[in-house]
């Protein structure tokens, strides 16, 4: 989830989620950045309203991780 956290961090900081920015954040955490994953993430986020997704998560019962059976 490192890549996602990096994106959320940028979003919360009011910064644009670009390949460059995501890479910089990941590097600052000592992550060995894989360009392909950054690209994939940024591409996937292009069509998403992050704010909305975050708010939906707030509504969702957080139990998410529930080990399925």
């Amino acid at each position: 989830m490192e890549y996602i956290y990096a994106a959320l961090l940028l979003h919360n900081a009011g910064k644009e989620i670009t390949e460059e920015n995501v890479t910089a954040v990941l590097k600052s955490a000592g992550v060995e950045v894989q360009d392909a994953r950054v690209k994939a993430l940024v591409a996937a986020l292009e069509d998403v309203n992050i704010e909305e997704a975050i708010n939906r998560a707030a509504l969702a019962p957080v139990a998410a991780a529930a080990p399925a059976a």
Binding site: I4, Y5, A40, L41, A44, V48, A53, A64
Partner: protein, 293 residues
């Protein structure tokens, strides 16, 4: 064999050859039971199958001879002869053939001596019959009938024949008067030959609901994998974000990281903890003041 062949009249010889050709020219050969299907319906079925499958009716002995002459695994179809057999030739997928034939089945009135394909139920309610001997006929087969408003009325819903039981003459008569058509009539596929194997109806009947469930299951697996491994796709990116946000909130609340976004969650958590302890204390004699609850 050759000698025996000579004894076949010309038309029978031609018939056998035609059957053999049909088998050789089609990847799928089905064997169906035509017994009891009215000629008019056979016409309908043929019309429905046109372009997809060809029904070849012939005498069982001639079909058997053709199968024997061809030999090999296709001859195993003989074991599935039942009643008045016919062959069906198609280029279609055998599973689809089975479905097609099921779809050509229609409901027909029951004849005495036939086996109920499912429970035959006579529903309660008014009928159009005027009082008369019909009431006695109903009662003889266990259908409780009364007269109401000058018409015969069936008092309660009754199962008159259970699945698998024989439909006797009296019941068949009553059912036909009531317009109940319990019989599935159509080409029943006894077996289908395809690429060296003979498939039985059990093998050919596909459970579409089960298939849909598998699709749903596979889709949720893919969804899970995408989210759990944080592989963003258009479909799952929202869920992935949600997951990350939830995780962050969980950690924040659990650890007591006092951030604006989650402070209300932390308050709620503390409040619930307080309540839990308060209730436990109350159960042991500590009076709670009203504002606690």
């Amino acid at each position: 064999m050759a000698l025996y062949t000579h004894h076949l009249p010309r038309w029978k010889r031609d018939e056998v050859e035609e059957i053999k050709r049909g088998i050789q020219e089609h990847p799928v050969v089905g064997i169906v039971n035509m017994h009891g299907i009215p000629a008019s319906q056979v016409q309908d079925i043929r019309r429905n199958l046109r372009g997809t499958a060809r029904v070849k009716m012939s005498r069982n002995t001639l079909i058997e001879r053709a199968l024997n002459e061809l030999g090999g695994s296709v001859a195993d179809l003989k074991e599935h002869f039942e009643g008045q057999s016919a062959l069906i030739f198609t280029n279609e997928n055998p599973f689809r053939l089975f479905k097609l034939l099921e779809q050509t089945k229609t409901k027909m009135a029951a004849k005495p001596g036939e086996i109920a394909p499912e429970d035959i139920v006579v529903p309660k309610g008014p009928t159009t019959f005027k009082p008369g001997p019909i009431v006695g006929e109903f009662q003889q087969v266990g259908i409780p009938a009364v007269i109401e408003g000058g018409k015969v009325k069936i008092r309660e819903t009754k199962t008159v024949v259970k699945k698998g039981e024989v439909i006797n003459r009296k019941v068949a008569g009553v059912l036909s008067k009531l317009g109940i058509k319990p019989m599935d009539v159509g080409l029943a596929l006894q077996a289908a030959y395809y690429r060296g194997s003979v498939f039985t109806p059990e093998m050919l009947a596909i459970d579409e609901e089960a298939c849909a469930k598998k699709i749903a299951f596979a889709a949720s697996q893919a969804f899970n994998l995408s989210v759990n491994a944080a592989i963003p796709t258009r479909l799952t990116i929202g869920a992935i974000i949600g997951r990350a946000v939830s995780e962050a909130r969980n950690v924040g609340v659990e650890a007591g990281v006092y951030e604006k976004d989650i402070i209300d969650l932390i308050i709620g958590r503390a409040r619930r903890e307080m309540l839990a302890v308060a209730l436990a204390a109350q159960a042991r004699g500590f009076d709670l003041d009203e504002e606690t609850l």
